[in-house]
Symmetry: D2
Subunit: 212 residues, 4 copies
Amino acid sequence: MRALLAGFEPFDGATVNPSWEAVRLVPGAHAVLLPCVFGAATDRLRAAMLEHGPEVVVCVGQAAGRADVTVERVAINLDDARIPDNAGDQPVDRPVVPGGPAAYFATLPVKACVAAARKAGVPASVSHSAGTFVCNHVFYGLMHLIATEFPQVRGGFVHVPVAPGQVLDQGGPSMPSMPSMPVTMVAEALTAIVTAAGLVHDDLRLTGGSLH
Amino acid sequence: MRALLAGFEPFDGATVNPSWEAVRLVPGAHAVLLPCVFGAATDRLRAAMLEHGPEVVVCVGQAAGRADVTVERVAINLDDARIPDNAGDQPVDRPVVPGGPAAYFATLPVKACVAAARKAGVPASVSHSAGTFVCNHVFYGLMHLIATEFPQVRGGFVHVPVAPGQVLDQGGPSMPSMPSMPVTMVAEALTAIVTAAGLVHDDLRLTGGSLH
Amino acid sequence: MRALLAGFEPFDGATVNPSWEAVRLVPGAHAVLLPCVFGAATDRLRAAMLEHGPEVVVCVGQAAGRADVTVERVAINLDDARIPDNAGDQPVDRPVVPGGPAAYFATLPVKACVAAARKAGVPASVSHSAGTFVCNHVFYGLMHLIATEFPQVRGGFVHVPVAPGQVLDQGGPSMPSMPSMPVTMVAEALTAIVTAAGLVHDDLRLTGGSLH
Amino acid sequence: MRALLAGFEPFDGATVNPSWEAVRLVPGAHAVLLPCVFGAATDRLRAAMLEHGPEVVVCVGQAAGRADVTVERVAINLDDARIPDNAGDQPVDRPVVPGGPAAYFATLPVKACVAAARKAGVPASVSHSAGTFVCNHVFYGLMHLIATEFPQVRGGFVHVPVAPGQVLDQGGPSMPSMPSMPVTMVAEALTAIVTAAGLVHDDLRLTGGSLH
């Protein structure tokens, strides 16, 4: 199976982005680095898809504050940026694709992906919101590309915790750190997720969901 | 302006549901009590819309753990229940409306609604996930009704914190309580939200959104 | 029973402090406003104790982020300030009282106080740390005064959530608010706590405590 | 420097305790396994101190829900158990040592220990409450032993997050996991802490502390 993994460059003043650090460690997959820029990120992703012809595409982004690897279930047609992207763009309530559907569901088997990450020893769960910043933008863009140009590709998005090195100096000695996860552990989860995406045809029928 | 507010009956073993307690306190609006049952809840809502002919419909549900009133932005076409509903139904990965779009956006001016609640003194924010249980089911059902039968209606969904009385006995004397909000305060927020929904044509262009 | 309640002035740039707003609303008790200043706060408290001759003294402070009213169990002999106090003093690892004991337990019946607040409808719990800023400083100072000058007084400390008005503008429209509680509700809890402190001789033997 | 590290056996139905898994991995230190039993745990610790004659003793326990390694600053003279210990004992408001002081401060250089763990790449912070269960019991017991029998020993307590393997099956596929940390990473922090405890005479004067 040909897999393409995309990670992001650092943003919001950070010097590393664990999504890129981790995707580089996944064996047997192409890794592409995306700019944290509305529009340009999706353009770069499309170029990589044309170049590598993947069967599975998993985009990966950082979710500061989350404690586990989260497999996103749905991308929404909305750009609404709390902070500027790396090119200074800060859209407010703009569609990712004008005229596009309100949302796309991931075509990854999201519950099987979570089960595979957990089986590999890495805490993981399904998430129902990828936010409204560049991560959701790329996720929606990917699913729109699949819907319009690459119908044979299976695709989705995974959010990952920050790396431990990012939370070592976030306050005085008594300030508790936000949750973090080593990038090697994130990479193990991504490896399991990509494998599940290639092997599992129908998603697992696991009872779950969020009450709100 | 004719407004219809819907609240839910208690579920998951609770004896009260703050959504219903609060909607009954909103002056000048019809209030309808929905069963916490997939399918039946939307049927009841449709009947009330036919009966009252509202211009604005706001459905309201409980979100245990949230600390403020949240105006939901998007409903997704997915029923995935962590617990059974009040009729014992527990769907797994079932569409709300087979063949329906992946999602609908609220047609309430969500940022103006948040601003109105805050102006009324009640903490509030926009949320990008209403979960996958009966709340999201009714929210999606409402927006689908609007899209297919009631095109003149403006509609959306608001999640509210639990009431203080629900968290008084959740553990021993040293167990911190989850966040709660008096139902009178929730009702003030809902009143402000309904008013904003009737008065505001275009939503406020406030910088915001979620990073993830 | 003669009761003295102490609240604090605003600090860290805030314009209100819910502790002072709430103590002023408790019927039948003297209320004293303390400066948020190491040393001066305890001096002011001692002067009020000399003036009013209370049988019960409850000092009250703000705990931003907490969702319920917390009755503190233990004061420690440590000033360690993350931010400057209102006079610009920012001690690091300094004892409250040089040569004093490492800690004092509150002599309020803390579990009975929690039970009384809950019975009054207000979420509450016992806390095992009052921090190391001016709140803990005053709490320790109070218990030291009781140990050395006012042996007939029963005393303790209560932390309260921020008021709703303090969290209305803490971010964009999609930024969730931290937990808050109306000051009238806080005042009801304080009234119940002061009453319990006067009536209950031996604390309730309720199973509880914190695992960590 | 002769160091003794103590970890706990599993409790509350768990099959592993990361404190014991991690202390076994610290090079150059004696490791002792403590029962999660009031009284017996301190007896076992005392026996190990007599046997090994350590200069530094660090007891380590699990703190489910915390995201980083926390160096405890103060032990209080209170046993108040939310759940039974492994022998079925569940004390309510009982002193650890009848007639003992209300609290002991750790004699580890707690801020230097946090700085050392962070320098080793592991998120860490100072905590001001070790709870009121067996962890605090052993911490108080250790400091009382030091105060009464082993005046030359430097001692303290460290709480550690749960291991990833403990949170893999805590709910359905959409249930977010609580924070966790690999035990190898915990062991790196403990190694750095023990080293700092042996090398640092006076603690670092770092601005810090908790507001509440």
